[in-house]
């Protein structure tokens, strides 16, 4: 990690249009660079960590806390009022909002990210896909929506099988099917068309190549805005639940070097073609046959950026700030090297036994392990209420190791030692995922959590463990302790005193 104060900081003061762990993460780098930080907050989070850690804080209002964090006018106004020269959007909220980037620009401030046009281009699935295809980035072959079933069948057969067929207008799985041979195609297309007509009043059908057991591979890129771009290797984010990543790692497991180079090169090609400025991530799906297809480009810092930082030794937020200030990329592609392996676990307030539904509560006890090879990215406080106001992600635990097995062992040990009590979390579940033989083998795909559901369920504790838990619990109850210490029972039993 690059550290030390910058002799000539590119900005004097930066406002962070975000909250939680990512706001604290950005503040850390700003402090290292000798740049003043400004936090924003809704009244309900006036005492939050990011507010306390920033040099200044501005209250923003909104009917809900989230609406305050999405209020472009108030946020840009706050930045001007405190004399900030730049805004870092973090991830989520307004980070991929082209109107926000434009408003920051028009206020005479610097948006730490790409320009508004690039955000808009990549934010639209159709235009992004077309742009990628135009520059030779592979996109999943598809048949554009049509009502002409003969033409549809001809084009679909040309793509090959398996194919995913669905109503062009629809959702909810209506008329959707996976077709594995030419014989099934016509019937499936006819069925999809009639379902499409019945449910959506639009008989057009659509088909694309269906990737079996797809892996999610993404490439971290940086562009200088002048056609220069480099990559900082790939990340694998195949372990997902409810279509959201829960475990990310760098580099990807068992990826042949030639394929890795090809994927990374295609991401750089896309960034260069777009004159991409600042940090971005090009996401792909990778099939078991080694074919990979463009999914989308995220025009911001990713939640999982720490795994890239841990293997490259670079500070991505510092790079973002330097590039936003108009400086050149400080190194060439060949200067970027990867060392070891890093794994990130997203710790969420949720119940893995109940389909990962979000949980609420109060953080009663927090004790996180510390080591040079660990990062526990969080903005948690003891006594903090975990509500449904914000995303259920509470923290990220990131472990580095000399190789994948070593990083996995360290992550499992760290999850084991992480005590976060008062709200149900997925901590123990994540440890079971990392301990599963299929994870160790690198046999990953986006259906991993569903495929291994039974094996990943919590085992019943044995009797000896249960008794220990009960004893430990009983000794936490004041009146039970009073009994042990010989306080007369009638006195000890008054009320239900609790710690």
């Amino acid at each position: 990690m690059m550290t030390g104060q910058d002799d000539n900081p590119p900005f004097r003061k930066v406002l962070i249009a975000n909250r939680g762990e990512i706001a604290c993460r950005v503040i850390r780098t700003l402090r290292e660079m000798g740049i003043a930080s400004v936090a924003i907050h809704h009244p309900v989070e006036a005492r939050a960590r990011h507010v306390r850690e920033a040099d200044e804080a501005v209250e923003i209002s909104g009917e809900t806390p989230v609406s305050a964090h999405l209020d472009i006018g108030q946020i840009v106004g706050a930045a001007r009022a405190v004399g900030a020269d730049a805004i870092h959007p973090g991830y989520g909220f307004l980070s991929e909002n082209a109107r926000f980037a434009r408003a920051v620009d028009e206020a005479g401030l610097t948006f730490i990210g790409p320009d508004a046009e690039t955000i808009a281009l990549m934010g639209d699935k159709i235009s992004a896909r077309q742009f990628a295809a135009d520059y030779g980035v592979p996109v999943a072959p598809s048949v554009m929506p049509t009502e002409d079933l003969a033409e549809f069948t001809r084009q679909a057969t040309a793509i090959g099988f398996p194919l995913l067929i669905k109503a062009a207008a629809g959702g909810g799985g209506k008329g959707m099917s996976i077709v594995r041979s030419a014989e099934e195609l016509e019937g499936a297309a006819r069925h999809a068309a009639s379902e499409a007509q019945r449910y959506f009043g639009d008989g057009r059908v659509y088909a694309e190549l269906f990737v079996e057991r797809p892996r999610h591979i993404e490439v971290q890129v940086f562009g200088d805005g002048k056609g220069g771009a480099i990559h900082l290797f790939e990340r694998e984010c195949s372990v997902q639940r409810r279509f959201q990543k829960i475990i990310e790692e760098a580099p990807a497991a068992n990826l042949p070097a030639a394929l890795r180079d090809e994927i990374c090169a295609s991401a750089v090609r896309l960034a260069a073609a777009a004159n991409y400025r600042n940090a971005g991530t090009v996401e792909y799906i990778l099939g078991a046959d080694g074919r990979f297809f463009f999914l989308e480009m995220n025009t911001r810092l990713q939640v999982e950026h720490p795994v890239t930082e841990m293997i490259t030794g670079l500070d991505l937020v510092r790079l973002q700030i330097e590039i936003a200030a108009g400086r050149d990329l400080p190194f060439a592609q060949d200067d970027v090297t990867a060392n070891g392996h890093a794994i990130e676990c997203r710790i969420c307030a949720e119940d893995p036994e109940r389909d990962f539904l979000p949980e609420t509560g109060t953080i009663l006890h927090l004790d996180a392990p510390q080591a040079a090879y660990l990062r526990f990215e969080n903005a948690l406080d003891r006594g903090q209420r975990v509500t449904a106001d914000f995303d259920p992600m509470l923290a990220k635990l990131v472990a580095h190791g000399p190789d994948r097995a070593g990083a996995t062992r360290r992550a499992i040990a760290a999850l084991h030692d992480l005590a976060l009590l008062g709200v149900k979390t997925n901590i123990d579940y994540l440890a079971r995922v990392l301990g599963h033989p299929a994870f160790a083998a690198g046999d990953l795909h986006t259906g991993f959590v569903v495929q291994h559901k039974a094996a990943l369920a919590a085992a019943e504790p044995d009797e000896a463990t249960r008794d220990k838990v009960l004893i430990a619990a009983a000794l936490g109850l004041r009146d039970f302790r009073d009994l042990i210490l010989g306080v007369p029972e009638p006195h000890a039993s008054i009320g239900l005193w609790r710690n």
Partner: protein, 166 residues
Amino acid sequence: MVLKLDLDGTVHHLTILARRPHLVVSVDGRRHVVQGLDEAGDGSRQLTVDGEPLAFARAGSADGVIVRLDGRSFALRRLDAAAEASAAGGGANVVRAPMPGTVIVVHKRVGDSVQRGETIVTIESMKLQMKLDAPRDGEIAEIAAREGEGFDKDAVLARLAAPAEG
């Protein structure tokens, strides 16, 4: 005193069998010698149980205790005499939110008579609508739910009047 603790739906009974020379606790009839009594309160703690060191973390929750032991967290609910009285009464008298969400429709008003199973409020959580029903026949004493408002898991959304004596 018998301490009753619910762990994953099973109720366990704890009693003190001896205090000296060592603390001996019975858990569902099994004897355990406990030494090196830990500090009271929340945090990382250590005990010796049956001669073996035991490290764990503990925190008192609204209705019991949470214990983290050997990389797993366990939530225990207290069910002894006093707690049982209020929980049983409370359990039969209140409609609680099973998960955080938003109130969509309030079907009943204070003073309305309801039969067991009648819907009192409809909530939405994770884009899923769910009806919350009366736990028994009775009269609505309180409606805490307001349409459009959010709530946390376990929030009391409605309360029935206590049944008449006799």
